[in-house]
Subunit: 133 residues, 2 copies
DNA sequence: AACACAACTAATAATCATTCTAATTTAAAG
DNA sequence: CTTTAAATTAGAATGATTATTAGTTGTGTT
């Protein structure tokens, strides 16, 4: 059980028990959607409000403590901010995995063939995980 | 003004005036979200229902006539199905552009470093378009 | 350790987004 | 031209997210 108090404060967020539990849940599960976060936090905070989940997710995103990952045909999941990486999603079981790839060559190619100045590349692979194929 | 009657039928969709207009709108604008489609169709069909937009979007996606593109910090946009491609989104003006890139090397790399069987790669670049930078 | 206060939480109301229902209309096959 | 399954519409219903408000708490300061 990690202690995220300092990390939260470093992002200008008060270290409330609810926020610490969101951080721990994302640390343990890697990625979770709104409903999963709510269900998990309900176990520890019997009377937590969904509004608290939403409010904290939004604030934590604003302060770059967490990030949203948009997934084809599924609800967004959230994760602790870490080094830039891409995602693999299993179409069957919904499992989400991280993968670190060097996308600079692709970004450079894209920048050379358009007039865009690119500063982010969100890449999501869809397919079947080992268990499901 | 393209005629999408046959293309709709090829996708097992009746060629209703509303659907033809959705097809034309996407053909002309490239990408549009639900609200933009509704506003555009309202000009031609004064009493069109939002339910018609949603119902058709869903059915057209099921039948692979159109596709959804999920975009960071914005509503999804929809586009006519065409050759696989990636997207560039301007953070400032929201403009969405297509870009065709060969992602096979990246996919192969991903498949070799995980146990996933990958069959799709959704890539969205974020940055500033020429006008906005 | 106690204080002060801005920030936070919980309840719930309000709003926004999407889907459902049922009556009417229509595309297209024969 | 008829027939009929499917589509459209209006509006109700549901689901998701945000806003409001009153009471509570984390944290810097004394
Ligand atoms: Mn991740
Ligand atoms: Mn496109
Ligand atoms: Zn799987
Ligand atoms: Zn722009």
């Amino acid at each position: 059980m990690n202690n995220f108090t300092d990390l939260l404060r470093a992002h200008n967020l008060k270290a409330t028990p609810q926020r610490l539990e969101i951080a721990n849940t994302l640390y343990n599960q890697g990625h979770a959607n709104v409903e999963e976060l709510y269900d998990t936090l309900l176990k520890k905070f019997h009377s937590i409000s969904l509004a608290t989940i939403y409010k904290n997710i939004n604030l934590m995103i604003e302060n770059a403590f967490i990030q949203e990952v948009k997934i084809p045909n599924a609800k967004s999941v959230y994760e602790l901010t870490k080094e830039t990486h891409s995602h693999l999603v299993c179409k069957k079981c919904g499992n989400v995995e991280d993968i670190t790839l060097d996308l600079r060559p692709v970004c450079d190619l894209a920048m050379h063939s358009t007039e865009f100045q690119i500063d982010k590349a969100d890449l999501v692979f869809s397919g079947l995980c080992k268990k499901c194929q």
